[in-house]
Amino acid sequence: MALTYVEIEQEKSYRIFLLFAILIVFYFLTALILGYILKFFITFRIALSRPSLSIRFTLTPVQILFIFSVSLVAAIIHLRFSLNRLLGKFILRLGAKPLDRKDRYHQRLRNIVEEASVAIGSRYQIRGMVLPTLAMNAFALADFDNNAIIGVTEGLISRLNRSQLEAVVAHEAAHIAQGDCLQNTITCSLFGVYALILSKIRNQLESRGRRYYGRAGAQVMALAVVTYLTLSILQGMARFIKLTISRQREYRADATAVRISRNPLGLAEALYEISRNWRGSGDIGDGLESLFIMNPRANELDESEGLWADLFSTHPPIGKRIKILLDMAHSEIRVLEEKRRAKERLKKARRAAKELPSGRGSWYAHDKEGNWKGPYTLPQLVALSWFRPSSWVYQKGKGKAERAFRNPSLSKMLAKRIRGKAIGNLRCPRCNQCLLEKEYEGTTVYRCMFCGGKFLENDKVARILLREERVFSERILKLAKEMVGKNVKRYTIKRWKKLPKEFPQLKCPSCFKEMRRTFYSLAYPIEVDRCYGCQATWFDKDELAILQCAIENNLAGKKIA
């Protein structure tokens, strides 16, 4: 292996040239097959109308030359289009987003990516990006101008600790430094296009096919079918190009990642975590699997050994990868499993600890109807939806009742809430008070200090749902179970038709459109208010916690029903 990463540059251009040659051959072969079919039909027709002529199905050299020049032009056009704005197109297709500067977890990823780019030398300009999905996976992209991108899903950013994330980023940086990332990106760009177009045509045929009637409809259909068939041939051949993406490079990148991060255990743990979770199958587009650290689609071929699998799969068996890394760290898979169980136990213990203080409140407060309510603890009191700084409060054993803001400890608690940055034009849809920018699970949310509701932009929801800093009480867990169970029954019986009308329709704080009360998703049927104008979500008090709790403890709808 080369002494520094700067030296790893050889044979890169050679491999890419090879790819171009293969591309031209592909087009030529496809065009040749099409040419033969066309010729066959034409000759056949002529033969039918004028049986006296002699029939020749072969192509003349001039025709072959014509086909070759057509395929050459097609290949060049294809090349130009796929290499133009290479990274931008991938970013769009994968839905990757730039990192959020205000987000602590994102800041950590940004730092780690910068560390990795220091580690592999200054040749590449590496940028960190994030995929806003709950899946756990990571990918790398590179182009000819030495720009590179390391993308990590929100799932990975939030669920892995620093050393594990370092190892994953080091693995991706190793791909970039070794040059196989560039080759991979180009291959995917050249041959991944077909899968995309194919699936679009398929969708069109399935959904709109029946709408076309008459002769024009038949022609459109015929054209679509022919295109579909041609592309299918091309895609079938593109499968072979995957031969050049050998699974060996994953082993090599693992080894280099260990060289960079000096932490084989971190990478082993990260791979173990990724393999235990959803890796994004269905969410991540066709034909891009080879970009990722682990195949989003778990399949048998990847897990098998032998010549066949070595030739045709893009990723090596997960078990073997982890085992190699664990051997380096003098550890065993048993240790990882034990660690996972310990984490579960810790979560349970933290939940139990959270339960303790709630029963011991001594505060009473005067509600709107003029009744004394209580007892509450201080945090509970302040979180009450009807509680205002001007409410009357009374502490057991202290004698006199007083206004909340007159009490030093209460006013301090209230002040603490106001200290956040007030966002002038965002107002709580329930209380019509200013929303405050608050730190929550490492990112910022807009929170109403009076009703405790939270307003989240669309891309922040996934982040928060993944992160596990917050500990939830048994009450929340119980609520979550109950709600999921109840709502699953409701939507399976009534099929979404009528959600309860008794809730007033809320106005979206940012675009003032009416929000709709819906379930977060069919798997996690917790009611939330979603704005279909700006895709933001309003969570009433506890709704976010319940949803987080449901996801953290895997209370998916089906299991409970």
């Binding site: 002494l3 520094t4 800041q107 730092n111 780690i112 910068e114 220091v118 200054s122 960079i260």
Partner: protein, 182 residues
């Protein structure tokens, strides 16, 4: 006869030029690698005042630790030359380590938002320094090998190329053999 001699002389001169150029480019790479370290060191110097400012309010009884950090920082800033710089940086790393060990005892400080951010930034910087150091040492080794090898050595001596110093980690705890207790 003269033609042969001329050919040999020309070849020798060509070799000398190529070798000289190689040494020059190695030295430039080394300088570049040092600049890479320097950037990261500056980054660390900039973070420390913030760190001290944040910790000051909480660590009223641990003045000494904070003063050590400040002292180490100013020493590191004024250091010159690879060896001195390395020594000063190692001292600074030590004091920072002891500061974070003390912070462990103050849960309030540990959970402070500022502190969390600063801790992350410092960790990142430490990692970057170590990666940049690897890079620098790789180039140092290359240059030193080139200078000491036989035919190249002549050119190196002729044009006064000097051996470069390594940026070494002087961590006492790393050197000492682990104690065994029964």
């Amino acid at each position: 006869m003269i033609i042969y001699v001329l050919i040999v002389v020309v070849i020798l001169i060509l070799w000398a030029v190529v070798t000289y150029n190689r040494l020059i480019s190695l030295r430039a790479h080394l300088k570049n690698a040092w600049a890479g370290i320097d950037v990261q060191l500056k980054r660390r110097y900039d973070l420390i005042p913030n760190l001290v400012e944040t910790a000051k309010g909480y660590l009223k009884h641990e003045r000494e630790v904070l003063e050590n950090v400040i002292k180490a920082r100013s020493q590191a800033i004024s250091a010159s030359g690879v060896q001195d710089q390395a020594k000063a940086e190692n001292f600074l790393t030590q004091t920072l380590k002891s500061l974070f060990a003390v912070v462990e005892n103050y849960p309030d400080l540990k959970a402070n938002q500022n502190m969390l951010t600063l801790h992350e930034e410092l960790t990142s910087t430490e990692n970057r320094i170590s990666f940049a150091r690897n890079h620098f040492n790789d180039w140092t080794a290359k240059l030193n090998i080139a200078i000491q090898r036989f035919p190249t050595r002549i050119i190196a001596n002729l044009f006064n190329f000097k051996k470069a110093e390594f940026f070494e980690v002087e961590d006492v705890s790393m050197r000492r053999a682990p104690e065994v207790k029964f």
